[in-house]
Symmetry: C2
Subunit: 371 residues, 2 copies
């Protein structure tokens, strides 16, 4: 298989005792240091944050949602206005998902045929037919640095037959996405499906590698299965994925899931948890989560985390609690900033641990603190 070298991924160091990797991915809008966490900017904004606040958390790359943006304000409009980077005011890399997961989770009455997925818009109920070619066209209009292929996501548990059917279709759709792509300045990542069946997962991965992509994602996980099952799947898939290409675990997850994923060889993650939990008054810290509405914070003059450089941590826990009690927008904003900063700090600690060849100790430590 011949690969383009348009999006170089340099492995700076591989941990000797785990599969953790320290890498550097070069994309049209800049460099992504891996392991990396991508904040989610569903509707062209990371909820509650200005774009300079997003940058201040330390993010190198954002995720944008093809499904949401294609419905509103539409990819045509974003293209007319110079693409998603310019629309959001973000000049660093962006990855766009393909819409597969949102069709599965949000689209009403979704029906999948070999041609594509038919679903009703969650906004106005209009019927939309999305083919793999459409997903790529939309992502090319958005102008993201990385486009994801359209995959067929199904609910788990499911019969082996249904899992294989969706997994095989995802491979054929991945090929159609690759064939449909026109822009050379956009990396294409494939998505490994196959449910919780390790053999089907490996088979799917091998078929996708045969087609050849710029990176490989693991999809269809973190949909309610126990974390150990997810880790077991990663144990099987990562070893068959190309060493010299980035690996992305979609929609994951809790801080400990990121660390466990890194230990198994994953390079990239995304999740709404830091912003969603932040809006719900839950703060991530190196010692676990804090519920900021709790009375114990009412008179606490200390910041959420004393060594955190974020805006929220310039204030007392008492102030943050007050904002939530008073239903002020600033509460969700400050906690979202804090949580995203925590996720980025966790990634920077992981990168350093790998560089210093002590990721196994780091993993043990994090299992005690976070799990």
């Amino acid at each position: 298989m011949v690969r383009s070298n348009s999006f170089p991924f340099d492995l700076i160091h591989s941990d000797t005792k785990t599969r953790a990797r320290r890498g550097r991915l070069q994309l049209p809008h800049g460099v992504v240091e891996t392991p990396a966490f991508m904040p989610v900017g569903t509707q062209g904004t990371v909820k509650g944050l200005t774009i300079d606040q997003v940058a201040s958390t330390g993010a190198h790359i954002l995720l944008g949602n093809t499904y949401h943006l294609s419905l509103r304000p539409t990819s045509e409009l974003i293209s007319e206005l110079g693409g998603l980077h310019r629309f959001m005011g973000w000049d660093k890399p962006i990855l766009t998902d393909s819409g597969g997961f949102q069709i599965f989770s949000l689209g009403d009455m979704n029906k999948v045929t070999e041609d594509g997925a038919t679903f009703k818009s969650h906004l106005d109920g209009s019927v939309i037919h999305l083919r793999p070619e459409d997903s790529i066209r939309i992502q090319e209009q958005l102008g993201s640095d990385i486009a994801m292929v359209l995959d067929h996501v199904i609910a788990l548990p499911a019969s082996d037959e249904a899992v294989r059917d969706a997994s095989d279709r995802s491979v054929r759709w991945a090929q159609r996405c690759k064939d449909a792509a026109v822009r050379a300045d956009q990396a294409k990542f494939a998505i490994v499906q196959g449910g919780l069946n390790p053999e089907m997962r490996v088979q799917c991965a091998e078929q996708l590698i045969e087609i050849g992509f710029d990176g490989y994602a693991v999809g269809g996980l973190s949909v309610g299965e126990p974390p150990p099952e997810m880790y077991a799947i990663l144990d099987k898939i990562c070893p068959v994925l190309p060493t010299d290409q980035p690996r992305y675990l979609m929609g994951v997850g809790r801080p400990i899931d990121l660390v466990e994923g890194i230990a198994r060889g994953v390079d990239m993650f995304d999740c709404v948890m830091p912003t969603r939990n932040g809006r719900n008054a839950s703060a991530f810290t190196a010692e676990g989560q804090l519920k900021m509405r709790n009375l114990c914070h009412a008179k606490d003059d200390a910041p959420i985390e004393a060594d955190c450089p974020c805006l929220a941590c310039k204030h007392s826990r008492a102030y943050i609690r007050h904002l939530f009690q008073a239903d002020e927008m600033l509460g969700p904003t400050l906690l979202s900033i804090h949580n995203l900063t925590f996720y980025q700090r966790l990634m920077s600690w992981a990168r350093k641990a790998i560089e210093e060849d002590r990721f196994e100790e780091f993993l043990t430590e994090q299992r005690q603190k976070l799990a």
Copy 2:
């Protein structure tokens, strides 16, 4: 009458054709260049903005609400945590109102006797009795740079008798506030009442001046009366107020009201309009207001105001509209930042016009653009 010189107010220039004044008020936490606009931080936060975003709009001084903060999180707690400045993370001047207006507008079943006001908390219905002495004690606990005396606000129109009764009581309460004050590092401003009756207004002002305060506010306006009536009252009151002390028009108002107030000799203003309208998708500009949900902005690549340095104006009108259509928090945040920046820019234009002795032209110009 002997006045302390603890809070010097320097008149830098008085316009020769109007009553507009360019001043500088020195307060414990810094200098306020006047004419000045104070963003409102009702519950210890300017709604939707981080404190550095508030500073970025150009604000020199904020307003905090005694009524809201005393109910939640309580002034005792804020005092324990080092005062309102530290609680909010704002190290520039703060003015706190006395609670009089909120008791009038929010307090259920409010009853005023000579001793004080009795009302039900809008949070939990508990019955609270607030005397002038309590208002000052609370404001001293908050530690603001300027405390307002407790006044008796009544609904207009009202009988001459009712207006005089409330106005006279406000004077007696002002004296009690002055007598109750302990902190020497907190300026005390009196509030001129008297409804829309010019004679009562002037009489009230003269009585307050006789007692002697660090500044004088005009209260009980902007409660539904036509703007020309408000301007007429200012025309009467300002000439009797001490030239060498600051004058504050409470709760006002639209951009044109600020300019008209400055022309009549007002130095300070506060209003929730820039943030409230911002949350409702309305943008202030030098040419009037824009409704950002309107379809005409859907494809508009231009910023709200090309010469505005705010964060919102780094984005297109199309992006701002999209945020409101998609019900994203960032829409209200960005427009609040823009509107507060516009109000501060308007004040800076006014200050410059006064310095250059061309405020009358500026007023004519603004009447055409804003009214």
